[in-house]
Amino acid sequence: MASPLCVKVEFGGGAELLFDGVKKHQVTLPEQEGPWDIRNLLVWIKKNLLKERPELFIQGESVRPGILVLINDADWELLNSHLYLSLPCSNTWQ
């Protein structure tokens, strides 16, 4: 059971155009059954933040090739891309 989670999500390099031009989003991910990881975060972003043309952002279960994902300024391909997000609301991740 995952408790609510505060995450700072930033879009850049043109990606923000799919999100009404808004680059920085402070989001609170709701409680849910399983843990929060990057994969379901992306699904949440697509459902709740994405404003247009989902095919330019998501392809299958991941981002469209060509889109870079950085977690705390590190390339997610360097880390396990199914990184679990586990800190409660008092902490924020970028």
Binding site: G12, G13, G14, L17, R64, P65, G66, L68, L70, D73, A74, D75, E77, L78, L79, N80, L83, Y84
Partner: protein, 381 residues
């Protein structure tokens, strides 16, 4: 799950893994490595000699922003001076915003900026006007073909205006790989063979051109801009969805996901291609109208503009092109951008070509030469 430690400084947390070496580096070691590689590309290829006045094709996009930033860092070591040259194709709602980005970059970096406009150079033909003119001709992507040719000519003009000795553009490895794929898909053997050269020697009256970021993958260009906190303009050209290059790009991205080194490997494969003698194009001559390097009687820029002015914009593209005769200019033709009455009319002798693979005999007016059709060149971002 913690990230590994940087394998260069062994101190900071690694931020990325380099696609070719697999090396894990932190942000600042990566930026240092990136800059060192660009420096090596320029020095090993003898691209920008000391004393060079370098015109940087600046679009406000990520590639030319990174290019200008890196060259500015390296300028003292290379002994070169930089001028930013921006091209205004006359695309409403896109190019004007991008030019604002270039202007603020020029101010921040304290570099001189010159803007050249299609409307001035090509008798009022902005890209919006070209797009309207080609809209009914059945191949909507053809307006990008015009833009590639005309922008190359415009950049050459801007470079001459500032007294440059060399032109640099921000094409990255992905751009080069896409071009290789496009040339294969179009059966363009001549361009495939010429595609591997690092830079154009500048045959005839064309200024030498090179692409210092040619071996940098697009992903690394984006990461460099991110870690150096560079600001750039990142909207897509309004006509881009129609360009053929988009198909090559999609394919390349899927290939890269399966095999990260595919992008650079594709560029290196193309460099090593050798053409069968029967496939080599004939040596180019000069344009009978403007004197620039040309494979036919008219160079691509003159041929395309001619077609536009006659109201027959498809004439200069594809098979129809072969039937275009070199006739005297019609009234209202654009002023000749590079008309040089003293330009030699004989075939280019091409002794300056620095790479045997592109001697004129093999049709080697390098893709960078103003009159060669490098269609659908991605707007250097």
């Amino acid at each position: 799950m913690p990230a590994p430690t940087c394998s260069s400084c062994h101190a900071a947390r690694a931020a990325l893994r380099r696609p070719r070496s697999g090396q894990a580096l932190c942000g600042s070691c990566f930026c240092a490595a990136f800059e060192a590689e660009v420096l090596h590309t320029v020095i090993a290829g003898r691209l920008l000699p000391s004393g060079a006045v370098v015109a940087v094709g600046a679009s406000g996009g990520k590639d030319s922003t990174v290019l200008a930033h890196v060259l500015r860092e390296l300028a003292p070591r290379l002994g070169i001076t930089l001028h930013l040259v921006a091209v205004d194709e006359g695309i409403g709602g896109y190019r004007d915003a991008a030019l604002e980005a270039v202007s603020s970059q020029a101010a921040r970096w304290e570099l001189p900026l010159t803007i050249v406009a299609y409307a001035d150079l090509f008798g009022g033909w902005t890209m919006d006007a070209v797009a309207r003119s080609t809209a009914g001709s059945g191949r909507s992507r053809s307006c990008c073909t015009f833009c590639g040719v005309l922008r190359r000519r415009a950049l050459e003009e801007g470079a001459r205006l500032v007294g440059a000795t060399h032109i640099v553009t921000g094409h990255n490895a992905d751009d080069m790989a896409e071009t290789v794929l496009m040339n294969f898909l179009r059966g363009d053997a001549g361009r495939l063979a010429r595609g591997g050269v690092l830079g154009s020697a500048g045959e005839g009256c064309a200024l030498p051109r090179c692409r210092p970021l040619q071996f940098a993958s697009q992903k690394e260009v984006v990461l460099y801009a991110h870690f150096r906190r560079l600001r750039y303009f990142s909207e897509e050209c309004v006509y881009a969805p129609e360009a053929f290059r988009g198909h090559a790009r999609d394919l390349l991205k899927r290939l890269e996901a399966a095999r990260p080194s595919a992008v650079l490997d594709l560029v290196h494969s193309a460099e090593r291609l050798a053409l069968a003698p029967a496939a080599r194009p004939p040596p180019p001559g000069t344009c009978t109208r403007c004197g620039a390097l040309a494979s036919h009687a008219l160079c691509q820029a003159c041929a395309l503009l001619d077609g536009l002015n006659r109201g027959l914009p498809r004439l200069a593209i594809g098979k129809g092109r072969r039937m275009l005769q070199a006739e005297p200019p019609l009234p209202g033709n654009p002023s000749q951008a590079t008309s040089d009455p003293a330009a030699p009319q004989e075939s280019c002798s091409c002794e300056q070509s620095r790479d045997g693979a592109t001697l004129c005999r093999e049709g080697g007016d390098r893709a960078g030469a103003t009159c060669d059709l490098q269609s659908d060149v991605s707007p250097s971002e």
